[in-house]
Every structure is written in structure tokens, then in C-alpha cells.
């Protein structure tokens, strides 16, 4: 008699794995916010800083723009991993602990791929989609809680909660990719990890029957579309080169 049986596993549905109720989930986020306040101000400022550097990498050429982008982004993943997953989410979902290594790995990956960020002036549709995602993660996502009738204290903020952090990262990856000649391995892997989280979040929110479940799903879809578009650089876009790009990936300097 086997303990593990495929025919038994096939009878399971997502709701069989959801171990908390919707009010408890939102309450957990509110409690987490109280625990980390006022770190939100710093993480939001860090996110805005990333946005500014991405918009004008040449203006930050003296300060290694790749690191200025990758540093705060990697730190946000670490904070969301150890802080949100480890300290708060794990209190209602033991499986959250299993995902901490993924968040740490993503942080390290982003740091390793730092030279792929801020390489040139973003251009093309991928960049537009990327800026849209990043702006949504920073300014739009925190509004979902009050829009859904939950207190502002339960808002999900970039760098503190995983969903806006991941959606913001998708934006950053699209922007970075728009100014590179080809899709690099660290960025592709970072995109894949972000998409995996969007999937996890979408299934969780959808199983709880919350209308916000569209948010990670649409963000992942937008990112995949942007990622698969032909590269603006290789198809005649004219991004400016910065000093931080690797020779192989940098667009030709004008």
C-alpha cells in the first residue's frame, strides 16, 4: 500500500491547499505592515530611486547605475522573503518558508546581473510596458486595499509585500531588456522566478475569490508579452550606451 499515489493526488484542487480564510490573509498583511512601519517609506523611496535611474541611466553614469538599480531591487526581494514570508506569512502558511530561498536566490541573481541594468536609454514597447508595471507597483498597488474597502494600514507596498515587489521587478526587467541587444541569462531567470511568484499569488487570491487576483495574472501576462517582443535595440532602436554595460550586450554607441 503506497503512501504516495498519483490517482489520489489528482483528486486535489487548489482550495484543498488553501489553509487560511480571506479575512485572515488581509489581517496578516496589516499586522505585517505594523511590524515593519516605517520601513515602507524607505522601500518606496528606493523604488522611486530605481525608477529615476532607469529613466536616465546616463545621468547616473558616474554612480554605477546598474548597482543603483540592482541594489535596492535585490534588497526588496530579501526583505519580502525574510520579512514577509518568514516572519508573517509563515504564521498562517507553513509552505511560505519553502519560498524564502527562492526570494534570496532572486536577490542574489539580480545583484549578479547588475551590469544588465541601466545599460542604455530604454525604448520601444517593452520599455513602455515596463515603466507601466513599475509605476503600477509603486503607486497603484497600495491603492488596492482601500479600493477593496480594507484599511490603508493593510496596503501592500513595494519592498515590503511580495506582490508589488515582484510586479515592480517585472517592470524593471522589461525596461532593462529594452536597452539590451539580447536577453541575458540572469534577467531571463529573474523573469521566470517573478512569473512563478505571480502564478502562486494569482492561485492564492483566486482561490480566496478576491477580485484582486487579476493583478498578478495580468502583470505576468504583460511581462511575458513585453519580454517576447522583438528587441528595440536590435531592430533599429537608438538607446544611448552607458559605461556600465558589458561589451557583448551593449548597443552600439552612437
Amino acid at each position: 500500500m503506497n503512501t504516495w499515489r498519483l490517482d489520489t493526488w489528482l483528486t486535489y484542487r487548489p482550495e484543498d491547499f488553501l489553509m487560511f480564510s480571506e479575512p485572515v490573509y488581509w489581517q496578516m498583511i496589516q499586522t505585517h505592515n505594523a511590524l515593519f512601519w516605517p520601513a515602507h517609506i524607505l522601500t518606496m523611496l528606493a523604488g522611486l530611486g530605481v525608477l529615476v535611474v532607469l529613466g536616465n541611466p546616463a545621468g547616473f553614469a558616474r554612480f554605477r547605475p546598474g548597482l543603483l538599480i540592482a541594489g535596492p531591487l535585490a534588497a526588496s526581494w530579501m526583505l519580502a522573503g525574510f520579512g514577509f514570508l518568514g516572519l508573517s506569512y509563515a504564521s498562517i502558511n507553513w509552505a511560505a518558508e519553502w519560498l524564502i530561498p527562492l526570494f534570496v536566490f532572486q536577490g542574489v541573481l539580480i545583484l549578479l546581473g547588475r551590469t544588465d541594468f541601466g545599460v542604455g536609454v530604454p525604448s520601444g514597447i517593452a520599455a513602455v510596458l515596463g515603466f507601466g508595471l513599475l509605476a503600477y507597483a509603486l503607486a497603484g498597488y497600495p491603492l488596492l486595499a482601500p479600493l477593496a474597502g480594507r484599511p490603508v494600514a493593510a496596503a501592500e507596498v513595494f519592498g515590503v509585500a511580495p506582490d508589488p515587489t515582484v510586479i515592480g521587478t517585472l517592470g524593471v526587467l522589461l525596461i532593462a531588456r529594452s536597452s539590451l541587444k539580447r536577453r541575458t541569462a540572469p534577467l531571463s531567470l529573474a523573469l521566470a522566478i517573478s512569473i512563478v511568484w505571480c502564478g502562486v499569488s494569482w492561485i492564492t487570491l483566486d482561490t480566496m475569490n478576491t477580485w484582486e487576483s487579476w493583478s498578478p495574472a495580468v502583470a505576468a501576462l504583460v511581462a511575458l508579452i513585453g519580454w517576447s517582443l522583438p528587441n528595440a535595440v536590435s531592430t533599429g532602436g537608438t538607446p544611448k550606451a552607458s559605461r556600465s554595460g558589458r561589451a557583448a550586450d551593449r548597443p552600439a554607441a552612437r
Binding site: D16, M19, F20, T31, S91, N93, E97
Partner: protein, 313 residues
């Protein structure tokens, strides 16, 4: 896996906490405090001990994390449950923070001796079973478990050995196994036929009746007590029935609500020892316990209930 150790909540904290106080203020309005009917008792065949025919589940409802407000609300449910004569609470290391919520509630309410503690072992490496059981016991804050069940038959052979040893050495009263959603009935039947277990836990309700084919008669034959989980299909039965008129015969069997009728259906099976609905509401805990009193459904009423519920859900 998270070992959920939160700061213990004292009774004073619970009752002084804003939600605790608010909820306490609401309780008399809900009317459950007036209900004094003692629940009917059923016998555990292997020991002869008697327990109330309705217990309390904790999947999802008691997994509320660290929020003191929500933990206080769970304690209010437990308080109402015990005051109405309830005893068995069922949990598992799989249920997130539920074990520590129960443990803190029991201690704050002074009910560590009243409770019939039914927990589970749920870990695939059976060598780790004793450690998991020790962690669970620390979270429940009880001197020993009344019942430990192998959750969903995971590693059942190794875990049963551990549990039988614990029972023999006096560190455990009863041994059991669980399944749900109609899964692995064949495997469970084989184990029931040959292992000296005290309890099985399975799903049986108005819509999920497969257990009545083989497992319930087998339990009766073998003298195994039966705990029924998912009596309301995790709300999938109670929600659509909300607001629907009760059958005109409901009063004859002493049922005031659909939930009570659904429980009466389960308890009508002679093999069933106890049903363990989960709830977030103190008045539901009381209402559920009250369903064990009064007449049980006869075969004809059971059939009529099945067809009515099938047409409405």
C-alpha cells in the same frame, strides 16, 4: 515547517482585548448563552469512555496567525463550545497556527483538563514523528493527547508503530487514522480490518455518502469509533441552504436550522461517534452541539433530507 510558538495569551488579555471585549458584549444578543441543553454522549467502543456527539474542527477557522484580535475570537468560540458541553477539538500540525491558537485558548480558559484533545501526526519521514508529536503537545499545552491520528494515512505504518508504543506506555489514550473527501477508502478499509485502532476519521455528509458503503459498517463490526469531518463540506452545504425554508418536518426532530439537520443526518448513522464541524462563530458552536440532542432522523427522513438538499445545493 513552522513551529508556531506565539506568546501565550492570558484570559485577562483575551477578555480585555478590544475584539474579545467587543465579542463578549455581543454574545448575549446572539442568544447562545441561554441554551443549556447538554449534548448527547456516544461511546468509544475500545475504551467505553463517552464523549459528546459533536466536536469542533480547526482547519482554516483557527489558523489565524499572530493577530491577537483573531486569536481572541477563536478563544470565544472555544469558550462557547465548552460552556455548551463540548469536549473534542480536532487539529493537526498541517493546520498552520491552529494548534497554538487552541493551546493558548485552552490555557486562558482553564480547559486543558476538559478538552478531549484529538491531534494528528503528519510527516512523511516516520522517524520524525515523535519530534513532531512532542512539538504539537507543547503547542496544545496539554499533559498528553487523548487521541493521535495518522493524518491522511501519510507514513501510516511507521506512525502507527509509534502511536501504539505511546499508548502502551501510557502517553496516549487512543490511536486513529484519518482520510477525507472520500480518498483512499480501500486502503483505510484494509488497515481497519487488521490494525487495533481506536478511531477512524472520514468524510460523511448528506452529499458525500461513500463511507456508508463499506467503512461505517466495518467500523461498527470492528468496534472502531468514527469521527466525521467536513460535515458541511467546508461551508459548501450550509451557504447555499442559508435563507432556504426548512423542511416542514424539521421541528419534529428538534432542528431549528439547516446546519442542525445536516448534523442530525450524520449522527443518525449508528457507526458515527462524533462529527466535528469547524466554525468561527460562538453561536454556531452552540447550535452544532445542540443538534446532538432530541430525536435522530429515521431512514425515511434521511432520504427526504438527501433529496431536498440535493435539489438546493
Amino acid at each position: 515547517m513552522t513551529k508556531h510558538r506565539s506568546k501565550p495569551v492570558s484570559r485577562r488579555t483575551l477578555l480585555a482585548g478590544s475584539a474579545g471585549a467587543a465579542l463578549t458584549a455581543l454574545l448575549p444578543k446572539a442568544g447562545w448563552t441561554d441554551q443549556t441543553t447538554t449534548p448527547s454522549l456516544r461511546t468509544i467502543p475500545s475504551s467505553g469512555a463517552r464523549i459528546p456527539a459533536v466536536g469542533l474542527g480547526s482547519w482554516i477557522t483557527f489558523n489565524v496567525g499572530d493577530s491577537p484580535v483573531l486569536r481572541a475570537q477563536c478563544a470565544e468560540v472555544m469558550d462557547a463550545f465548552f460552556k455548551a458541553g463540548g469536549k473534542m477539538i480536532d487539529s493537526s500540525p498541517m493546520y498552520g497556527s491552529a494548534q497554538s491558537v487552541i493551546g493558548d485558548g485552552l490555557r486562558a480558559l482553564g480547559r486543558t483538563d476538559t478538552v478531549f484533545s484529538a491531534d494528528k501526526v503528519w510527516i512523511s519521514d516516520t522517524d520524525d514523528g515523535p519530534d513532531q508529536i512532542a512539538d504539537s503537545r507543547a503547542l496544545w499545552q496539554v499533559p498528553k493527547f487523548d487521541l493521535l491520528q495518522v493524518h491522511n494515512l501519510v507514513g501510516w505504518e511507521g506512525h502507527l508503530r509509534t502511536l501504539f508504543e505511546m499508548k502502551q506506555s501510557g502517553h496516549l489514550s487512543c490511536v486513529g487514522l484519518t482520510t477525507s473527501h472520500g480518498r483512499r477508502h480501500q486502503d483505510l478499509a484494509e488497515i481497519m480490518a487488521r490494525e487495533p485502532i481506536d478511531f477512524v476519521q472520514l468524510t460523511y455528509n448528506v452529499r458525500d455518502r461513500a463511507a456508508a458503503d463499506r467503512l461505517l459498517p466495518l467500523a461498527q463490526d470492528r468496534g472502531i469509533a468514527v469521527i466525521v469531518n467536513r460535515p458541511f463540506r467546508r461551508g459548501g452545504l450550509t451557504q447555499p441552504l442559508e435563507g432556504q425554508p426548512l423542511p416542514d418536518w424539521a421541528g419534529e426532530v428538534g432542528a431549528d436550522t439547516w446546519a442542525q439537520l445536516l448534523l442530525k443526518f450524520i449522527l443518525a448513522h449508528p457507526a458515527v461517534t462524533t462529527a466535528i464541524p469547524a466554525t468561527t462563530k460562538p453561536h454556531h458552536a452552540v447550535e452544532n452541539l445542540a443538534a446532538s440532542t432530541g430525536p435522530v432522523l429515521d431512514a425515511d427522513l434521511s432520504r427526504r433530507l438527501i433529496s431536498q438538499v440535493e435539489s438546493l445545493t
